[in-house]
């Protein structure tokens, strides 16, 4: 069994109010390391066996069509060992 991970992030130029709220909350709790925070989504997709190139191409397509909105988001597909 393999796990395919799709990370979806807002494009850098799109305002991320949630990330900003997290960035503002950190120093209130004494965490002073963050210059900025961006918040995204992570999809973990389990498949039987090792993924074939054709399966990965299908996941790429699903990421483009459903998992992300290409108008405002970028995505990265990777296989987790």
């Amino acid at each position: 069994m393999a796990k395919i991970v799709v990370d979806v992030m807002l494009k850098p130029e799109i305002l991320d109010p949630q990330g900003n709220a997290v960035a503002a909350a950190l120093p209130r709790l004494g965490f002073n390391f963050a210059k900025s925070v961006r918040q995204g989504k992570r999809f973990e997709i389990e498949i039987d066996g090792e993924p074939t190139p054709a399966q990965l191409a299908e996941v790429e397509k699903a990421a483009e069509v459903l998992l992300s909105n290409p108008v405002i988001e970028n995505y990265v597909v990777r296989v987790e060992k």
Binding site: L10, E13, I14, L15, P17, Q18, A21, L66, L67, N69, V71, I72
Partner: protein, 222 residues
């Protein structure tokens, strides 16, 4: 004339939208998300709410509902479609309108009476208004911030496809105070605030929202 009002699981404002269609002088026809049938309607309203629980992204799942495949096809052929709030989000996810609606810039769910200015009265859904007419209708959403890239924004502004703007302070961080836009033909309109809640002064801040629903009759008679 028959105007369809689509109900998705999680839709809230279908009843008010149907009432507003009736008050505007058309016959409201209930459409169900799971039916691949537009019941011979002449136009469609996508009402507000939280279709499919807003899971994944607002409107992202609704876009693939059976009824939406017919709406997309008919809209591309010129059928008038109005998407209000969640309906606007569905139209963007369906690529019938450009851009996207994102979380309000201050993160708060807003629910208030909002003044907007109709800045294009040439569309199927805004022709009852005077150009530049200001109306007060409810605004109630958590993800109403209209975003797009600079090129798309320049195109929308250049082609007069911004149909309404917020008046006064920007309520949600929308680019250029955009409250509503149309497609190139003007038959598809997305609007973040809710005209269907403002058709009677007894229950709304004004009756000025009715103009969106009388416009569609004018558009069909022309």
């Amino acid at each position: 004339m028959r105007v369809g009002v689509i109900t998705f699981p999680g839709t809230l404002d279908d009843r008010d939208a149907a009432r507003a269609v009736g008050a505007g002088g058309a016959e409201a026809v209930a459409l169900w998300h799971g039916d691949a049938d537009l019941k011979s309607v002449d136009a469609v309203v996508l009402p507000g709410g939280f279709s499919y629980g807003d899971y994944l992204r607002c409107g992202a799942i609704s876009r693939f509902a059976p009824v939406m495949q017919l709406v997309i096809e008919a809209a591309n052929k010129g059928m008038p479609v109005l998407g209000i709030c969640n309906g606007f989000q569905v139209l963007c996810e369906s690529h019938l309108l450009p851009g996207a609606l994102t979380r309000n810039s201050d993160l708060h769910f807003l629910c208030r009476d909002q003044e907007i200015e109709v800045v294009n009265n040439q569309t199927a859904w805004t022709n009852s208004f005077k150009q530049g007419e200001k109306v007060v209708i409810p605004l109630k959403n958590g993800e109403g911030s209209f975003q797009c890239d600079d090129q798309t924004l320049a195109m929308l502004e250049g082609e007069g496809r911004v149909i309404a703007r917020y008046v006064g302070e920007n309520p949600n961080g929308s680019r250029n105070l955009i409250a509503g836009i149309s497609n190139a033909k003007g038959n598809v309109v997305g609007l973040m605030p809710h005209p269907e809640h403002a058709i009677n002064e007894l229950t709304g801040p004004s009756a000025q929202g009715l103009g969106f629903f009388t416009s569609i009759l004018n558009a069909m008679v022309k």
